[in-house]
């Protein structure tokens, strides 16, 4: 029964996002802005998958996912900015305008590799992964967990945000990187490019979802859930808990970085504002609102919250924070299993009225 319902859901999703929206865009009744808006939502959904893997399935509350997201975003943004750079540096490499305004003479050394697209992609994945490896190693080694983990990662997000805000880090400071022109020689402002990026984001989301599904169903995934439910018992049964945690931390960071890479060209700007503590907490909340411990829930939550954000900020700009805060509180207090959990409860109740005997499908039982 569960499979049938899932099939319907997937079919609906595919029909809507892979056929109707792009077709509408080509035929002209869905605007280019809507397409890139949804493309960005898909990026957020990819991050949410990572958050769900690490928090929903492993029970580690990481509050610095937005930082990894921005590492990916910045690497692609740096490449795009370099391609459109006009100011000339003393070492013969053109450099972005904001550097010229800041009286920088030559392109800083760490910008040089980003001239190549392939290297930018590689670095955009490598840097977050290396960061997650080193930071995660020290955190998990000393068995920092639970609330401590949340606080330390929050402090990391805060510190990195402060660093990116500085002008002397050569990443554009508060203004971030903007004025994107071309990617791989194609103009970013054409409708075709927007649709292309949208489709790439959607397909990446699909692949990420399929991969995460396989992962959580595998033995590896079961160990992750065992860690979530009782870390000490898992370690007593001779699993090296730290390795599993480290692996999932890096994986979540990679998912966030991929999302960031797709996000930056679609928005046309990336600023440190995307990586402050609040951004990270919001990412966690998407998953909580959608239903944690369920991959579908993560995607659903991120799409719904961001869709709401777009509507609310245009309709009542001042009250978005009230709505968001209210959503946070009510979700945590009353809808512990999120939207998806609520739907399932309702469905189970309706189902049990019709035929009382079978139990609702065996979904993960949440314990914190």
């Amino acid at each position: 029964m569960g499979n049938k319902k899932d099939f319907g859901l997937y079919a609906c999703g595919i029909a809507l996002f892979l056929i109707i929206l792009p077709l509408g865009n080509v035929l002209g009744f869905v605007s280019g802005n809507t397409i890139s808006l949804w493309g960005r939502y898909f990026c957020f959904a990819i991050v949410a998958l990572g958050v769900d893997l690490i928090w929903g399935y492993t029970g580690i509350l990481s509050m610095c996912q937005a930082f990894f997201f921005c590492l990916g975003g910045y690497s692609v943004a740096m490449h795009i900015v370099l391609k459109g750079a006009t100011a000339s540096g003393t070492n013969g490499i053109p450099m972005p305008d904001f550097m010229a305004w800041n009286q920088v003479e030559a392109l800083p050394f760490f910008w040089v590799p980003f001239q190549s697209f392939g290297l930018s992609l590689a670095l955009g994945l490598l840097i977050p992964a290396a960061f997650a490896l080193v930071f995660g190693y020290f955190i998990f080694r000393s068995r920092i967990r639970g609330v401590y983990m949340a606080i330390i990662t929050q402090a990391l997000a805060l510190a990195m945000w402060l660093i990116f805000l500085r002008n002397e880090t050569m990443l554009g400071g508060t203004n971030g990187l903007t004025d994107f022109k071309t990617l791989l020689g194609l103009s970013l402002s054409t409708p075709g490019m927007k649709l292309g990026l949208y489709l790439v984001s959607l397909i990446t989301l699909g692949v990420a979802f399929w991969f995460s599904r396989k992962l959580v169903d595998s033995k590896f995934g079961k160990v992750l859930q065992a860690i979530r439910d009782s870390e000490s018992r898992t370690s007593y049964t001779a699993y090296r808990v730290m390795h599993y945690k480290l692996a999932i931390f890096i994986l979540a960071a990679l998912l966030a970085a991929v999302a960031g890479m797709l996000y930056a060209p679609q928005t046309g700007i990336i600023t440190p504002g995307r990586m402050d503590v609040r951004a990270s907490v919001e990412m966690v909340m998407w998953v909580a609102i959608g239903g944690r411990g369920k991959l579908k829930g993560a995607i659903l939550g991120s799409l719904i919250v961001n869709f709401l954000y777009s509507i609310c900020t245009s309709l009542f700009p001042d009250s978005w924070l009230f709505i968001l805060g209210f959503l946070f509180v009510t979700t945590v207090l009353y809808f512990d299993k999120g939207l998806l959990g609520m739907l399932e409860t309702v469905a189970a109740k309706l189902g049990s009225k019709r035929k009382p005997s079978p139990q609702p499908a065996g979904h993960e039982v949440m314990q914190s």
Binding site: L61, F135, F138, I139, R141, S142, R143, I144, G146, V147, Y148, A150, I151, I152, Q154, A155, L156, L158, A159, L162, I163, L165, R166, S232, V277, V281, V284, M285, A288, D318, S319, L321, F322, L324, G325, F326, L327, F328, V329, V332, L333, D336, S368
Partner: protein, 545 residues
């Protein structure tokens, strides 16, 4: 000190040479002043002005400055000028200053129409050009006097030293006197021709210890007139620099302690609540904000509504901000947190949501920026030695922290309530079995913890603006204090609060503030490698999960 006296003697001698003629001169000056104020014929005023400008007597400077500013008036036959305008009963009144023979403030404040303006033509004012650099020497504003002293250094006038010395004899403000003496000694030093003379002035500069002494001596060490005294100046510069370095360190130490005490105030409540209920209250910073806004409201209430223009509002707002923030905390506990005990991660998210709501609410009620006027009794600072001033407001915060921490200690370790709180912290179920009303203890603890944050907010108004997201600035820092200190331990909060505050300031003095923060985070991560449960971990079975 001896050297300073020596120099004064030299100056007095220099002035004293013409001493005999002094009394006579003063007489003729007062005659000329009278001629300026009510000239007997058309040319008398400009002649008198020319005479006064040539004499350059400091006692006439206030009068000449008033003429130059076109603000010379007569009041009961005496020359006066006006100062700041003030609104008094819907009418504009001015502070009035007498100009000659004494430069002093009149007891009355008068509206402009009671003063009789003395019109002085432009050509007459132009006569004063020769004395313009000196006119501010007798200004009523010490700041302006200090500037005037400084400008004398570059003035092209051989008589300037004598004029400055005369003006300084009337100087009453300590800061301006130091600045003026520095200029005087500097000019004397540059005119000095023999080595002992130059050394005496170098000593005087050193003893006087003004703002720019290092620069002056450094210049002299490089290209002073008396070559043999250059090395002496260089020596003094070195000694001064090392002294200044020590003072800077002391200042850093002090600001580290004061930052640490704010962190302690915030972290104390956080640590108690977290230890008791395992709740990470992300909205804790917002109670700080509530405390600050309560202080602001108290100020508006007392000063604007009740018209009490004393510092009373501040004393009242200390307990009121505690109670108001505490009540908000109680409401939060009752509505949200009560349902989330034993679910720490969820409580973190829910309280984050609450904090979003509270910040936005504050923004829509109070706007983006408000400031509390610091109470008058906390203005200024305690001058330990020249150039080392400990501001009273920071001292007050440190004092407040000491008192609050001691009270909290007494409450936790010397009262029945404290025993209950500690019992519930150690073992909730067992305490409940023994008849402790754990729910009530939770509520009271939450009230106390939020109240402490409110107090911190009240204290924060002394050193910064009141903004809706002021709590967010400190919240991550204070969480780090709790993590480093160990859960629910007062001693931990104190030691790590002071340590982090102190380290922040020390690192800030080496690097930019931001890199200091990053370094501290790295240090804390390293520290947790060795002490994962903080400085003061629980021992024994209760420490296990």
């Amino acid at each position: 000190m001896n050297c300073i006296q020596k120099v004064w003697l030299v100056i007095l001698l220099a002035i004293g040479i013409g001493g005999g003629a002094f009394a006579q001169q003063a007489d003729s000056i007062s005659i000329k002043v009278a001629a300026v104020l009510s000239p007997p014929n058309d040319t008398a005023r400009s002649q008198a002005l020319q005479y006064l400008a040539a004499q350059k007597d400091p006692s006439t400077f206030p009068l000449l400055a008033a003429i130059n500013d076109k603000k010379l008036y007569m009041l009961d036959g005496k020359a006066v000028t006006t100062g700041e305008a003030e609104n008094f009963g819907g009418k504009e009144v001015f502070t009035v200053f007498y100009l000659y023979p004494q430069n002093k403030e009149a007891a009355v404040k008068l509206p402009a129409d009671q003063l009789q303006k003395v019109e002085i033509s432009r050509s007459e004012r132009l006569i004063l050009n020769v004395v313009l650099p000196y006119l501010n020497l007798t200004s009523h504003d010490p700041q302006k006097r200090i500037m005037a002293y400084g400008q004398l250094v570059s003035a092209q006038d051989t008589g300037k030293i004598a004029i400055l010395a005369k003006a300084l004899r009337q100087e009453a403000d300590a800061g301006a006197l130091t600045a003026g003496k520095e200029v005087l000694f500097q000019m004397k030093l540059h005119e000095a021709l023999s080595e002992p003379e130059a050394k005496a002035y170098i000593d005087s500069l050193d003893g006087n210890w003004g703002e720019n002494v290092g620069l002056i001596l450094k210049n002299y060490a490089e290209n002073g007139n008396v070559v043999s005294a250059r090395a002496y100046a260089a020596e003094k510069v070195k000694a001064l620099e090392s002294l200044q370095g020590r003072i800077e360190k002391a200042q850093n130490l002090f600001s580290g302690i004061s930052l640490g005490s704010i962190l302690i105030l915030i972290a104390l409540g956080l640590a108690i609540v977290y230890g008791l209920a395992g709740i990470i209250n992300m909205a804790h910073g917002e109670f700080l904000m509530i405390g600050a806004y309560t202080t602001y409201c108290m100020q508006s209430l007392f000063i604007d509504t009740l018209g009490v223009k004393s510092d009373l509002y501040f004393w009242v707002s200390i307990p009121v901000s505690f109670i108001v923030a505490g009540i908000f905390g109680l409401v939060l506990e009752r509505l949200v947190i009560r349902h989330l005990y034993a679910r720490p991660l969820e409580s973190l998210l829910a309280t984050w949501g609450v904090s979003l709501i509270m910040v936005q609410a504050a923004r829509s009620i109070f706007g983006d920026l408000t400031a509390v006027k610091a109470p008058a009794f906390l203005a200024g600072g305690w001058q330990l030695m020249p150039h080392l001033v400990l501001p009273y407001n920071r001292l007050f915060i440190i004092g407040l922290t000491v008192i609050v921490v001691s009270l909290t200690y007494l409450m936790l370790y010397r009262s029945r309530l404290g025993i209950r709180i500690r019992a519930v912290t150690q073992n909730r179920t067992m305490s409940a079995c023994l008849g402790v009303e754990t729910r009530r203890v939770d509520a009271i603890t939450f009230f106390l913890g939020s109240g402490l944050a409110g107090l911190a907010g009240c204290a924060m108004t002394l050193i910064g603006n009141v903004v809706p997201d002021m709590g967010q600035t400190y919240i991550v820092d204070s969480f780090l204090v709790v993590v480093t200190g160990g859960v629910g331990k007062i001693a931990g909060a104190i030691v790590s609060g002071l340590g982090i505050g102190f380290l922040t300031k020390v690192l800030e003095s080496f690097y930019e503030a931001v890199y200091g923060k990053v370094l501290i985070l790295a240090l804390i991560v390293v520290f947790l490698q060795f002490k994962p449960r903080g400085l003061f971990p629980d021992k024994g079975r209760i420490a296990e999960d």
